[in-house]
Amino acid sequence: MHHASNHKITSIEQAVSKYVSNGAHLSIGGFTINRNPMAAVHEIIRQGIRNLHVYAHSNGQGLDQLIGAGCVSRLEIAYSGNGRFAPTCLCFKRAVLERTIQVEDYTNFQMALRFLAGAMGVPFLPTYSSLGTDIVEKWGFPDQIRLDEPKLASKKLVVMDNPFSRDHETEKLVLVPAIHPDVTIIHAQKADATGCTRIEGLSFADIDQAKAARHVIVTCDHLVSENELRKDSGANHLPAFCVDAVVHIPHGAYPTACFNEYDYDAVFLEQYQQAAGNDDTLDPFFQTYIHSPADHAEFVAMAAQNRLESIRANPVTGYADRMKRGA
């Protein structure tokens, strides 16, 4: 048990201002409409952070808002859809077509492996995925960016012959490079003051994203005692020594879902889609929902209106199984 580690508890303002600087290499946890660290995303937007280099698998809602707010200049990504809410995320699509961001495409497994390589401390991991495709052939970043930016992998990927093959016909493998974000931000259901973190439901790639990063911010719905987490060691996902900052933010993943806590807010996600198509509608949307509220609690109250009760998770199913989602 730790005795003097409560200093990791901080505010989202301070955590973002300390660890997310202009030009930082960032990854966020969650997957499309689930467990995105939305309170942190809003704070990054509020602080006007620019030129982020983002590493994403299918990070969905949070990523699209960062792009829409002009925070992102480069992106390594596998998927930018958002389930039924966006076959292709709208801000992402606009930014690519208008060439305001530079993109390098990977697959979801490759991004997961790249975070895992970072977590394991090796420069690459091998896979058979993407052989014979343009994932291998077409590289997104100009060579100059790789030369200028030592934090980037020196190559998008490398195709090698399998050195353990017994055959004359060599098997080929794709080596994908490790990622080491400057900072990874995840949202969890529970964390304690030392940084020990528990995710309920699917953890996606959050754990490897955190282990791979130089710094880790955890936002949590519940700040619990060390004692409570240690009663079930097997249910925890990150030890204290992986985490730099712990921020207690109820509904910190809203409007995305948080298993056992709240469902996604289908109505608000749809409102975002209506606004995201162009800057004339998106700027006032961000003004109303991100810049005006005093804090995340005020944002949630404003955005969810009278729906907070209807998205509350049923403790048996872990989601709001009576929530109306149709037209």
């Binding site: 969650g30 077509l97 343009d134 996604y264």
Partner: protein, 254 residues
């Protein structure tokens, strides 16, 4: 009994799923197909999401593969890396049926879900691979879902996101890919297959009331229509499962 072509597509996919299959589900109609199969004829099929939910007992239709509904009474949760590991692993991968969509497909079943035009200055941008390229590389039975449209069935892709049979014949094997190319393309008018030798697309099945010429008209390259045969229309029982049990809110089958 009347039915929509979307319902027919979902059921055409559902009928491919056998009781011992592990079904890799994407967002949308493939989930409807997998849920329908479990309710109709394959109760022991395992529904598997790349997000790490294994053997989910879907009670309510998920709107994304990360929807908390995919976690309902799963037999276990794993990480993204682990879930794709199950596909790349030959023991488990060979029993997985993939169901994927795309923006474009070529005569050999290669898929584009990335962009159109110059990759660095595209005229259209789609979400990218997600897990689609991974599943297309690894599994032995990959099913593609596409609406038949000339701009979707094209002779050459701007960007080859997911491998099909690559350039036909044994080019896929030579590239070192572990799984097989797509077994079929389920469309809103019929089902396309691939020649066993050349691996070029051909017409296998036509839905009720659709002609082979109508299919060819919606494809920007020539396909062999000679072996087309009629596909069994939906039964009332199948339609009833879709409408009453799987998607009563018409979230997907709208």
């Amino acid at each position: 009994m009347t039915y929509t072509l979307k319902e027919m597509m979902a059921l055409a996919a559902a009928r491919q799923i056998r009781n011992q299959d592990i079904v890799f589900c994407g967002t949308g109609i493939s989930m409807v197909a997998a849920m329908a199969a479990k309710h109709i004829h394959a109760p022991d099929a395992t529904i598997f999401f790349e997000t790490g939910a294994i053997d989910s007992c879907l009670k309510d239709l998920p709107l994304a593969v990360s929807d908390p509904r995919v976690m309902h009474r799963a037999s276990m949760f794993c990480s993204l890396a682990d879930s794709f590991g199950f596909m790349q692993n030959r023991k488990t991968g060979q029993n997985i049926v993939g169901i994927v969509g795309a923006a474009q497909i070529d005569p050999y079943g290669n898929l584009n879900s990335t962009s159109i035009g110059d990759y660095h200055a595209p005229t259209a941008r789609f979400p990218g691979s997600g897990g689609a390229c991974d599943v297309a590389c690894f599994v032995n039975n990959n099913i593609v879902f596409m609406k038949l449209e000339k701009r979707k069935f094209v002779p050459t892709l701007s960007y080859r996101t997911s491998p099909g049979w690559l350039d036909g014949y044994d080019s896929r094997k030579k590239a070192g890919l572990p799984g097989s190319g797509p077994s079929m393309v389920i469309t809103d008018m019929g089902i396309l297959g691939f020649d066993r030798v050349t691996r070029r697309m051909k017409l296998d099945y036509l839905y009720e009331g659709i002609t082979a010429d109508a299919v060819q008209e919606r494809i920007s390259f020539d396909i062999d229509l000679s072996s087309a045969r009629p596909f069994k229309p939906p039964t009332p029982e199948e339609l009833n499962v879709l409408r009453e049990t799987i998607d009563p809110e018409k979230l997907i089958l709208n």
